[in-house]
Amino acid sequence: MEKSELEAIADKERRARKPVCVSCCTAAGCLSANGGEVLEGLRAAVPADGADERIEVRAVGCMKLCSRGPLVRTQGPAGGTEKPPDEILYERVAPADTGALIRAAVNNVRAEHPAIDLSQPFFTRQKPIVLENCGRIEPERIESYIEANGYRALHLALREKAPAEVVKEITRSGLRGRGGAGFPAGVKWALVAKSPSERKYVVCNADEGDPGAFMDRSILESDPHRVLEGMAIAAYAVGASQGYIYIRGEYPLAINRLQSAIRTARRLGLLGGRIFDSPFDFNVDLRIGAGAFVCGEETALMASIEGKRGSPSPRPPYPAEHGLWGHSTLINNVETLANVAPILLHGADWFASVGTEKSKGTKVFALAGKIANTGLIEVPMGISLREIVEDIGGGIPGGRVKAVQTGGPSGGCIPAEHLDTPVDYESLASLGSIMGSGGMIVMDESNNMVDVARFFMEFCMDESCGKCIPCRAGTVQMHGLLKKICDGEATADDLALLENLCDMVKHTSLCGLGQTSPNPVLSTLRFFRHEYENLLVAEAIGT
């Protein structure tokens, strides 16, 4: 494979485009809302209208506003321009509506069907880098990704840069791990690159376990090649030749798309031996998880790839020194890897110009909960929570925001009075929450914060692997105390005991799951202590 061949594929793809383009969302959100039949309906309606020559139906990835799905976008006549002005996004399309939509698109008029205003803040305030191709390209066709500048960054890296230069570029961009903790990606890459280990591995962590988070799934379903390209570049930079993607078993569609993406990339010689006629070989295999939250922790994840129980082990040694089968291993999150290709293509300075001093680039969030616009968003770091919740999310219909929960069971609840906090790693940490992988759940006045804390503790209790005692026994005890408080049977002593336990579990647990499991309790105690105390007072009167 040569660069000229890539360009030829892109050219052919561009020429094959027809003036009118109808795109149907085929990500899991819309498919569960009957999107598959809508797509079939659209395809069936085209020849019936005798418009084969002028119109094409594309199965694209996530178009972000999941709560209004299935979404169908019509564009045209395109005439080669990237984003024609007459783009219409129809919401809640039913299979029966497809004929009318196709007819309208052919005649270049607006159909009598509710459409979404594309100039609303939900769309205009986003800054797509990771998601630039989501909903634009066809995830199941590699040609579509190549047309959108795909695999150019890999070519650039392999043919024009030394591995050390690639690592330097990533370090300079200031990219930080998007899995939650925010460890600088460049530093991690440099550590693995320096390791004398004979074999090295690159692992993509797609075990998105946080309830309420679906960013990684959407990326993998909508733009799988972007992640593969990022992995290949990472492998070249650190000197690995084998990669694994560890993906949740609960995401059958993403698994399917990845498998087909790996197959087609291999067929075109973009994975496998001697990529782009360089001495670089790289292969990727999938490893399918089996429903264990703790496997998102890197040492547990590696144990699971090796076919063992997903129990974490103490760090150090870090995976960079002693990873898979004892070899040096680089583990990055899906979103981190999806950022790699654009950084190389546009340069580290371009990437570093987005975001804040310490948190560069953008962050993808899965916005959900009691909010008007549920869906996938990508915003520059440093944007305030208020902008996300009120402008992009459209606020809570007929209600008031009480708290925003970030970081899943390891994170915390940020109360409404702190909504002006900028979204970056340090600011969120100072409020007792974390950036996390990107789940963001908005709660209103009807949600009882003690019950929310109990809900997360129940989750941690179930998911604790049982290896270390503070986590195994501590989560059970904390859950018991929270339940007692919720039931209005607790005394002030119980609350003090709970706080004590939180502190102990936080500081003595082995891995991230245990260390962060008290966070939801601590953050709700910090901002909503009165709710806990109210439940205690009720008990005092009763006795």
């Binding site: 569960s32 609960e250 399918i288 089996a290 939250f293 129980r309 959900a368 909960g369 549920t374």
Partner: protein, 147 residues
Amino acid sequence: MKKLRYQPDSLIEVLHSAQGLFGCLNNDLLLYVAHALKLPPSRVYGVATFYHFFTLEPRGRHTCTICMGTACYVKGAGALLAAVEQESGLKDGMSAEDGSLSLTTARCLGSCGLAPAVVYDGEVAGHQGPEDVLNKLKEWEADHGEE
């Protein structure tokens, strides 16, 4: 199935396909896998019981899975579960004695846009209320009655 590879580290993949074929992992199956991959049975049993995805007991004819992810929870998934538990007399993770129904919960399906979501026999349905779920269960019962 196991001709793919006999490497011990493919244990989880093998269990995935075994459960796909047989519906559940009984002791004989686990022993067979252990011998084939040259692993101690305790290790195979340990892995099979560690992961939520694997089940050692057969499932009912129909499966109703209620998403208990955060987004569904704040939108009332707890009430859905309570309604089904009351109606069917089952608890989360149990199957009815006559093998007609299994009730399970999920840790987020990633369909938060549709919250609260319920999976009926592998098909995701969004924006469910307690009545919707109970109606569906009655429908299943009626189907069975006709058979």
